[in-house]
């Protein structure tokens, strides 16, 4: 198995995200989790673009299908180096839906990843990011402030609510 597939699988383990792909919600969660894991500083080399469901990497899609086709025994006895694990632990809280947020876990992580992407990669202000979320993700947008709060409390930092 290619080392980058091993690294991807182990990243998902640390982030407490399943690597099974039999369901579209699971695949969505993998995409957003790897995005956030890379943002935490463990860069696996995936480049994310903006798609209907937020940050998405077609190469990552290819890789998790390849992982699904691989012999999982090759993973046995392998782990991420501690420095990578420490970085990822910083974003594990972002994978959990906060109390009072009426979204599923994949939806919550989609919101967090999307907001972070719009602010840091697309370079949008918070207001512009919210506008995009309202237009493209109306179900998620009402919880954008909570996502901003969660990002702010994480090593990713987030940005102030009112950005010039």
């Amino acid at each position: 198995m290619d080392s980058n597939l091993v690294a991807m699988k182990l990243m998902l383990d640390v982030l407490q995200v399943e690597s099974t792909i039999d369901d579209v919600q699971k695949r969505k969660l993998i995409q957003k989790a790897v995005y956030l894991g890379q943002r935490a500083g463990v860069d696996l080399g995936y480049r994310f673009s903006w798609y209907l469901m937020g940050p998405y990497s077609s190469v990552l899609t290819k890789d998790y299908y390849a992982l699904d086709d691989s012999d999982r025994e090759e993973l046995r006895g392998r782990t991420l180096v501690e420095s990578a694990q420490r970085k990822l632990q910083g974003v594990v809280p972002l994978m959990q839906v906060p109390a009072g947020v009426e979204l599923s876990r994949p939806e919550w992580v989609e919101l967090v990843a999307s907001l972070d992407y719009l602010l840091t990669v697309s370079g949008y202000s918070f207001e512009k990011a919210i506008k995009v979320l309202r237009e493209e993700k109306p179900k998620l947008a009402p919880f954008a402030d909570r996502a901003q709060e969660a990002l702010g409390a994480s090593p990713l930092g987030g940005v102030p609510a009112r950005q010039v």
Binding site: D2, S3, N4, V42, G45, K62, S70, T79, E82
Partner: protein, 465 residues
């Protein structure tokens, strides 16, 4: 003719006209570098004509992007002259960050840098843990566009923000109008690539009906490019072209054999510190303008120097010599079969072979590093969409679907494979599985080939050809 315009005679598109800004971009050193980065890696060792570079391909992609947008505008779509100018430049620069030998180099480096993130459970933290972050060609491209002094000045003087171009190429801006023009199964890159590769390899199976396909491109309600329903047969044909391109060129048995050698050598260059290609090294190369000479020739020169150095062991030398003399590793056995999608047999077959390679290497006294086991699948409808016909329904990944070739049907754009009378409908549920075992044998060992093949056939449950 407008002052500063450039007319180029292109074997695929005829006369291609570049605007003054595009002509300046083409004249930049970062773009001229693409003359020395082959599009098809080592395919020319099998198809002698297939040594075209990313230079004409990038110009071709620019031309196709312009044609697609004109076609959309002519059919009533909202496309401004500014849109056309922007997307042509984006298509022109979409490959600017490609490494020498492109995908082979990236595969070698991705694995090399990923391994720095890994260790065995219970082992102490390695000294070089996490050192070096892999940089893909897309990341490198963004660096070149936004940080190369010459290119940045050309763009800025031409009224174009380099960051905007990078965002269009990377599809990073939700407000981009034509999101899948530069990146999807139906993009300008692939359309030029297929026609150009068919022309230069002499393999005619991937000749796309480019004029008709371009004329039938439209925008769906989400601003994504799709095809009219009239173009359904052309869409089927396009995907078949891609299938044959993969099967006949990219996955050609001898092309893959040479890529194994090259990938192994590039990996060794990285291991012994003769090739630094992490994100930091890429940034430094761009800033120092060393990027301009970071091309196929540079890598081959590095391989030659490595071969003559004390860093190279006997296997390294054998690989370098085999590549230089065009002595491909021998294909010992091959399995090829269409199977239903999702079938796990290939994984099991691959595992069966991999667990025995060490044993065979010892038995035939051929170093295990000289053995290469390769597996892959080709789904005719794939190459960004993994969606089978049966899965196109409520619980489908919208982003995976957005990558696929889509046709208009009753006001909606739907994946081709979901149209029951498209050829892709039945083909989407099957995939071609491939499993090969190669061994790099010295001339004096070639007589081992049959014996190795017999051993593999006897020891495995695979239906080898």
């Amino acid at each position: 003719m407008v002052a500063g315009e450039l007319r180029i005679a292109d074997p695929i598109h005829g006369t291609v006209i570049l605007t003054p800004l595009e002509a300046q971009i083409v004249g930049s050193r970062a773009f001229q570098r693409l003359r020395n980065v082959k599009q098809l890696g080592l395919a020319h060792l099998v198809y002698p004509g297939a040594d075209y570079s990313r230079f004409p391909h990038s110009i071709g992609a620019c031309h196709v992007a312009g044609r697609v947008l004109h076609a959309i505008r002519d059919s009533g779509g909202e496309v401004s002259e500014g849109d056309i100018a922007l997307y042509r430049v984006a298509a022109l620069l979409h490959d600017i960050g490609h490494f020498p030998f492109s995908h082979t180099t990236e595969h070698a480096l991705k694995n090399f840098y990923s391994e720095k993130l890994l260790k065995k459970a219970g082992e102490a933290e390695p000294a070089a843990a996490g050192e070096g972050e892999y940089a893909s060609h897309e990341v490198a491209g963004k660096q070149v566009i936004t940080e190369d002094p010459e290119l940045r000045k050309i763009l800025e003087d031409g009224g174009v923000d380099p960051k905007t171009i990078a965002r269009v190429i990377g599809r990073e801006d939700p407000e981009s109008k034509f999101k899948n023009l530069v990146s999807s199964d139906l993009d300008a890159d692939r359309l030029d690539y297929l026609c150009r590769t068919a022309h230069h390899t002499g393999v005619p199976y991937s000749v796309v009906d480019l004029n008709y396909v371009v004329s039938q491109m439209r925008l769906d309600r989400n601003g994504l490019i799709c095809l009219t329903d009239k173009a359904l047969r052309a869409a089927d044909h396009l995907l078949l072209c891609r299938y044959f391109d993969y099967r006949q060129v990219s996955y050609h048995k001898t092309v893959k054999a040479f890529e194994f050698l090259l990938e192994s050598l590039i990996r060794r260059l990285a291991e012994v510190g003769r090739l630094h290609c992490d994100a930091k090294a890429v940034r430094e190369r761009v800033a120092s303008r060393e990027w301009y000479t970071f091309d196929d020739g540079k890598v081959m020169e590095s391989i030659r120097a490595f071969r003559e150095s004390a860093d190279a062991d006997d296997v390294d030398k054998a690989m370098a010599d085999a590549l230089a003399r065009r002595h491909a590793p021998k294909l010992i056995v091959e399995h090829e079969e269409f199977k239903p999608r999702g079938n796990k047999e290939l994984t099991l077959q691959h595992k069966q072979v991999m667990t025995k390679v060490g044993e065979w290497a010892a038995e035939f006294k051929v170093d295990p590093r000289r053995w290469f086991v390769w597996k892959n699948k080709i789904t005719p409808t794939k190459f960004a969409s993994h969606v089978a016909a049966a899965d196109v329904g409520a619980a489908v990944d919208a982003d995976e679907l957005a990558q696929s070739v889509r046709v208009q049907q009753r006001g909606n754009a739907i994946p081709l494979q979901s149209v029951r009378y498209s050829l892709m409908h039945p083909l989407a549920d099957h995939e071609l599985t491939l499993l090969r075992v190669y061994v790099l044998l010295d001339e004096a060992e070639l007589d081992k080939r049959e014996a190795i093949a017999a051993r593999i056939r006897a020891a495995t449950d695979v239906s080898w050809k």
